[in-house]
Symmetry: C2
Subunit: 504 residues, 2 copies
Amino acid sequence: MASENAISPTRSEDYPEWYQQVVRAADLAETSAVRGCMVIKPWGYGIWENIQRKLDNRIKETGHQNAYFPLFIPLSFFEKEAEHVEGFAKECAVVTHHRLEQKEGRLIPAAPLEEPLVVRPTSETIIGASFAKWIQSYRDLPLLINQWANVVRWEMRPRVFLRTAEFLWQEGHTAHATREEALRETMLMHEVYREFMEEVLAMPVIPGEKTAGERFPGAVSTFSVEAMMQDRKALQAGTSHYLGQNFAKSSDIKFVNEAGDFDFVHTTSWGVSTRLIGGVIMTHGDDDGLKVPPKVAPYHVVILPVIPKPEAAGEVREYAEKLREMLRESSFDGERLSVHIDNRDMRGGEKNWEWIKKGAPIRLEVGPRDIKSESAMLYRRDKGHKDKASVNLNELKNRIAGVLSEIQANYLDTARQYLKQHTSTEIRNFDELKSYFTPKKLEKPEIHGGFVLGKWCNDQAEEKRLNDLKITIRCLPLQQSGTSGKCIVTGREATVDAIFAKAY
Amino acid sequence: MASENAISPTRSEDYPEWYQQVVRAADLAETSAVRGCMVIKPWGYGIWENIQRKLDNRIKETGHQNAYFPLFIPLSFFEKEAEHVEGFAKECAVVTHHRLEQKEGRLIPAAPLEEPLVVRPTSETIIGASFAKWIQSYRDLPLLINQWANVVRWEMRPRVFLRTAEFLWQEGHTAHATREEALRETMLMHEVYREFMEEVLAMPVIPGEKTAGERFPGAVSTFSVEAMMQDRKALQAGTSHYLGQNFAKSSDIKFVNEAGDFDFVHTTSWGVSTRLIGGVIMTHGDDDGLKVPPKVAPYHVVILPVIPKPEAAGEVREYAEKLREMLRESSFDGERLSVHIDNRDMRGGEKNWEWIKKGAPIRLEVGPRDIKSESAMLYRRDKGHKDKASVNLNELKNRIAGVLSEIQANYLDTARQYLKQHTSTEIRNFDELKSYFTPKKLEKPEIHGGFVLGKWCNDQAEEKRLNDLKITIRCLPLQQSGTSGKCIVTGREATVDAIFAKAY
């Protein structure tokens, strides 16, 4: 290691470039030959599989069932909801042909489709067409469906995990007999997301409602959970929408209510995506690379056999196997421990640094000396990379799940402190807001304040003034103080609390 | 129930229409507004989730890791392997634009792409581009990757689950230093598929190699597992390909071998898809609907509360809950029992028939009389729909997993007998072959013989004669008799055993 840190540049030297270097060093993903589309490599995909499984459990426990709908949306369907199509038209990939033919030695698209097909950017309209068939009476409600799928939104400035042309996500779609029930569903999933982000990803978030200008195209109200990255920008980590009867009307989803009258259903939709992996990187990562919260780590423990001379190889490998089998009997977060032995033939230091950069929660070095003392050398990713402890096997067996819980808790605590420390409640007017969000010219790196929690007068026209500062209202937190004061933007009397921030 | 059977027409009246009716009656899937694309409904998707999870475990246990690659393939990549592009060009959906614009009141594709993008029909070429970056030395080999994804092959005659424009699948892609190792991998996954089909789907298959004419476009050799449906046609249920160095050369996947020389890797690919759900329907289904093998059933047990009068509702519901909690403590095939209480407000007979048609392995009726005797009325989908037994709760708790195992075993046995009974080893020449595969005109329904296991001279030119009979050589079974005899097609001396059949 030439430098003190494994990642160059460091966060404070150049945050965006640090992010790219962590993605590379932790072997999470890479760009592909297709503009804006990423390749998610095994370590990154392993994190996604854990996110999927643990969120899917929560989605099912709250009564939803998974289903799968077509990748393609006929143009005519897509057009049905005016605000919706307006919101997505600029970023649609469009299929126009269904064959390739050789012509003058070149392969060209042939057989034009009668109606072009949009590659789904989100599935409200295509799922709405099924809902219209499935729902006749109030007995068919609520209808609670979720889909795990890929979606495509053509991005002119893609960024791996955060903003890619194709990404993986889940999208929940539900239909209800009443506004109240649909709103309750929206809030339920909003809370499921909050709990998931904090408990599983160790990522503290602020749950709240979006302003009108920041709503999902076609929604009546949008709720989001907003996390703070280590450059103090906000990441919108998950959204839940109450769609009113807008999509029901455009897709003709009618039902006979208990009184025997026809009515349109009230729908919701809600989703999180592979963007969450970007959130994990930027919430927990440090200048040595990624730190994966144990609850989503593809391996909880990586065993590193130390083989000082070839004769020791057999004995050390056997000991490592025994250790793995022992540890796999433990469970963490309701699942068996995932333990990997890295038997690759490469220098020990290099191998060790690879797992630091990948952010494996626990590393265990085992060599001839450890065998003699029936122990292993324990390294934790939440501590310094030289910080180690020789731990007896019996103790290790008893403590391993506890150590993982500690690491998980430490990550959450650290992130909570960071969020708290960089959320100001002191900003009183637009000038102060401006100054808070203007990096000091002489400072290197240029860094702004963070989040501002302040009063907002709810005047949509005035919200545009925030564009000049390159900030937005991230959300109106669910937890409102109930006090009055002066709107930060306009100086008018205001009662609503809002979070102002720069955002991804 | 007006008719004796829940499904009309029955299998013997009209097999293809029976299939469509089972898909509908079991609420598995439906067609969508997008030509050839299906909507997989919760019961169908639940089966797919179980297939996914249980096959994924096997894929990981054999050392593979999951990753994710772009949905889109640049035309220039796709063109690289000549046979490959030839094989897929006719069924490619092509993205040509990345925006929609309003023009004269209509929405039209705008912003043409510089290079059209093919929606992946399979991912050899796009994954090959990544492999070329990831592999430098023999130390990087073997590279063992799997992807779960949607793929698109434009179908002119789509059929739900069996042949759809979009389908879900897994595709394994591996790279190896030597031919021998790549062949070993191909055979390993071929065997994983065989074991999975038989042990999990209760679907007996014949593993074997494809003839040259039936190979995957670009492969050196293709192996498939072939199952027999109840119309005696073959279903190719999964394929494993040894691709030689063909794709390595077209994608430039080179490595430095142990001797220090450059060489191209040897690659394999292998996949199964949502087509397997069609296989499950046609292997096990009867004239009352679907029979889901317990190992992939979304619910192992469905509890049907019987409420003769409203006052009993509370007591019955409570008993059903208690029963569910008791049963959920049991496990089957390494997982907790999945138990569903159907509390919907509808007639008991209708509800009961719904679960027969959906093929839930076990139904338990509970009403006031059962509460008194501390028992439940047990119905098994592998027995007649009137066949029932009152079982004491304690006994039920002890027996439930055993009953599921019995049902699973019964399905496999029945399917094995069917396969055996309809596989002829008696056909000696082309005339007999013709007669075997020609339905008797006066017979209703018109049904052919089944599979023929016979000798084949390996002359590719002669294979085309089978087209007239609308049959193909399904595979050359791995298990060869080693005897000689006369080729069924040409009458020449031949040593190879082959399976001849009509196929989906």
